[in-house]
């Protein structure tokens, strides 16, 4: 008897909630969803340097989110007609710009996801602002997305240069050595990383004894003159901080090992590294290297279960970008479900200030001031080969960096 009262009360509550959710927007307009469907757009690199760490497998991750969303809400879902559009932006800002316009205008996309490469990411932010449609950036690092280029329709979801520099720069300075030599690729991303790292190192009581901008792209593939210089600097650096990414990072690390800098007392810290980079270098080449990770597949049971599902779909383990794409798609769908409409301004109202805990976002919060999505980050260290117990199990998490510390305070440059 008691139980049936409980059930009845719960059903009534559900009815009330559903009533409110459905009623609000209907009174304002004649239709809940444009075209009675939701379309998500994944715009990223599907053939170049970043296609492995995100690329087509991020499309799969978004499809997984849609399936989970449908399974969760069943008949109560705001719509069952949810699809994914995808395009390759080839890391070119102009291509990203035209593909984003096409997605919003002609393909009926409600929200664009991913968009690695900072220059391309900033272009898409402009398009989102102009079209007044949502955009969740996952793949790009530039803090300008939540700084001088921020806007109401853009959310920066996974990581940024501040998060990377603050985590790796601070902890490595405290625990490994105070004197740094920084090697960075000489273009926007590298220069931004160098500045962020120098600031974090100095703040932690360390000093940058030398820094060099290597050619980008480095056609010779050779970094030996920089690596030879590092141990001869005075005072001698204890840490080599490399800001190179992808294949260039592979070149630096291979040559760092060749010149045996670790034996000469110069440790290695990496600015931006994905699990796919460790896989291509092998953990043996990187053992002991510290870096900041936004998410790790083998961190806890929840991550692992999802990583197992992901592996069934794709044949490989997920990078943090894959998990973040899943999470962003899910949070967007939840927001539409709660609002009962895909009207961008209404959905944004629901997202702003929301506190979230999900697969990717731990102690997450969608900041209203600058649309930076903050969450716990992790200081990771590559395991020695002997401790690697299964494929892709490459790192141990040394420290969880709390969400409030991991990201910078809202920037004064951001005017929504």
């Amino acid at each position: 008897m008691r139980r049936s009262v409980g059930v009845a009360a719960a059903s009534a509550a559900v009815l009330v909630v559903a009533g409110c959710g459905g009623g609000g927007p209907q009174s304002g307009g004649d239709q809940k969803l444009t075209g009675d469907k939701i379309v998500l757009g994944v715009l990223n690199d599907q053939s170049g340097a970043y296609s492995e760490l995100s690329g087509r497998n991020s499309v799969k991750a978004v499809e997984m989110a849609i399936a989970d969303f449908k399974a969760k809400y069943g008949d109560k879902a705001v719509t069952k007609n949810i699809s994914v559009e995808t395009a390759d932006h080839q890391n070119k800002p102009d291509v990203a710009n035209s593909k984003a316009q096409e997605m919003y205008d002609r393909k009926g996309v409600d929200a664009i996801l991913d968009v690695p490469t900072s220059s391309a990411a900033l272009k898409v932010a402009d398009v989102a602002k102009e079209k007044k449609k949502l955009y969740f950036n996952i793949g790009a690092a530039t803090t300008d997305l939540t700084g001088k280029s921020c806007n109401k329709y853009t959310f920066h979801y996974a990581y940024d240069t501040y998060m990377l520099a603050h985590g790796t720069g601070t902890v490595t300075t405290e625990q490994v050595g105070k004197n740094w030599y920084i090697l960075y690729p000489n273009y926007a991303f590298g220069q931004d990383m160098e500045k962020s790292f120098s600031a974090a190192i100095t703040a932690a009581g360390g000093q940058v004894v030398g820094k060099d901008g290597a050619p980008f792209p480095n056609t010779s593939g050779d970094y030996s003159s920089f690596l030879l210089k590092a141990p001869t600097l005075n005072p001698k650096p204890q840490v080599l901080g490399t800001m190179q990414a992808g294949a260039e990072l592979v070149n630096v690390v291979k040559q760092y090992n060749e010149f045996k800098l670790r034996d000469k007392g110069v440790g290695l810290a990496v600015g931006l590294m994905f699990i796919t980079d460790i896989h291509s270098l092998t953990p043996a080449a990187l053992a002991g290297t510290t870096y900041t990770d936004a998410w790790y597949w083998n961190f806890d049971q929840q991550n692992r279960e999802w990583a197992d599902k992901f592996q069934k779909e794709t044949g490989t383990r997920p990078s943090f970008a894959h998990a973040a794409n899943y999470s962003a798609a899910m949070q967007y769908l939840e927001a539409v479900q709660a609002a009962g409409t895909d009207d961008a301004d209404t959905v944004i109202k629901g997202l702003e200030g929301k506190e979230v805990n999900d697969l990717f976002l731990r102690n997450g919060k969608i900041r209203a001031e600058d649309h930076r999505v903050i969450h716990d980050a992790y200081l990771a260290q590559v395991k020695p080969q002997a401790e690697v117990s299964e494929p892709w199990d490459y790192v141990k998490i040394l420290k969880t960096i709390p969400a409030a510390e991991a990201f910078r305070a809202p920037s004064a440059d951001c005017k929504m």
């Binding site: 053939s47 170049g48 340097a49 296609s51 492995e52 760490l53 000489n186 060099d212 901008g213 290597a214 050619p215 792209p217 480095n218 056609t219 010779s220 593939g221 050779d222 030996s224 003159s225 920089f226 030879l228 210089k229 001869t232 992808g246 294949a247 260039e248 592979v250 070149n251 291979k254 040559q255 090992n257 060749e258 010149f259 045996k260 796919t276 980079d277 896989h279 291509s280 270098l281 092998t282 043996a284 080449a285």
Partner: protein, 293 residues
């Protein structure tokens, strides 16, 4: 002082790769009048082949060093017979386009199978240490590359200078019409020479696998500099290509070491040298002006 010697040594190692690749391009251009744009792709295939042999069949570095150049040389000969040969009578642009297309196909084939992420390849254990030269120490593997390349260049020079085959190749390179007029069948040597050039590119690729990122685009990045090297040395000049290869390696290493405060200079020095050489000696440092037809 020891720093300068180390950087010089490094420049020579970097130059060794340019020399191997430029040498192949030079003999191919000399014999066939074909600018082989696919050279970088064969370099990539050499490195990838070494990786696949090791990862999937457990074939060690030393065996790959023999197998890959032979296999790629053979593949090059087949390609020469099957397609390149058919276009040599036409405007050189046709073969330029053909080999460019070939590059894209080879890159994408590798990409579709192995992805764009770099593949792991460790330095062979017996070469993973350092050699102490008194004034400075240096990775053993780099010493090996330099020694091996110098030996190879000397061997090629000996073959070209002292054997009958070499005489024919040199004659055909410098005066093809006249060589034919002497009743020498130049055509017979075209295919093996093309295969040999490709084999050198494959060899450079295998050598690069332990110290460079092994991915489908590794050749595309390098080949631009190699073309500059060939132009500086003189198109078709065998000695010029080797000398320019080592020379450019040295200039790059010194530039990066001592001009690192002026990245614009150290990044463009190769092309500045190329422009200067073209203005001063349009046929390259060691090239010979083509006699007007």
């Amino acid at each position: 002082m020891s720093g300068f010697l180390q950087n010089t040594f490094n420049g020579l190692v970097g130059g060794a790769f340019y020399a191997l690749l430029a040498l192949g391009l030079a003999v191919i251009f000399g014999m066939l009048r074909v600018v082989n744009f696919a050279h970088g792709a064969f370099y990539m295939l050499g490195a990838f082949g070494a990786y696949v042999l090791l990862a999937e069949a457990g074939v060690p570095f030393w065996a790959a060093l023999v197998i890959m150049p032979l296999a790629l040389g053979l593949l090059g000969m087949v390609l020469e017979r099957a397609v390149i040969h058919r276009l040599t009578r036409l405007d050189p642009l046709y073969n330029f386009l053909l080999t460019f297309g070939l590059t894209l196909i080879l890159q994408d084939l590798v990409k579709s199978r192995y992805g764009v992420q770099s593949s792991p390849y460790a330095t062979p254990a017996e070469l993973s240490g350092t050699v102490d030269f008194g004034l400075f120490d240096f990775p053993t593997y780099r010493v090996f590359i330099l020694g091996f390349t110098v030996l190879l260049c000397v061997a090629v020079w000996w073959v070209l200078g002292r054997t009958r085959v070499g005489m024919v190749v040199r004659a055909a390179t410098e005066r093809p019409e006249l060589t034919r007029a002497f009743g020498i069948d130049v055509g017979r040597w075209v295919t093996p020479v093309f295969g040999f050039g490709i084999a050198l590119a494959g060899l450079a690729g295998v050598l690069a696998a332990p110290m460079r990122a092994v991915n489908p685009l590794m050749g595309a990045d390098l080949i631009i500099v190699v073309f500059a090297v060939v132009v500086i040395g003189g198109l078709g000049s065998i000695f010029g290509s080797v000398a320019a290869g080592f020379g450019i390696g040295l200039i790059q290493a010194w530039g990066e070491a001592y001009l690192s405060d002026f990245p614009i200079v150290s990044q463009t020095v190769v092309f500045v040298v190329m422009a200067a050489v073209l203005l001063w000696r349009p046929a390259g440092l060691f090239g010979r002006e083509e006699a007007p037809a």
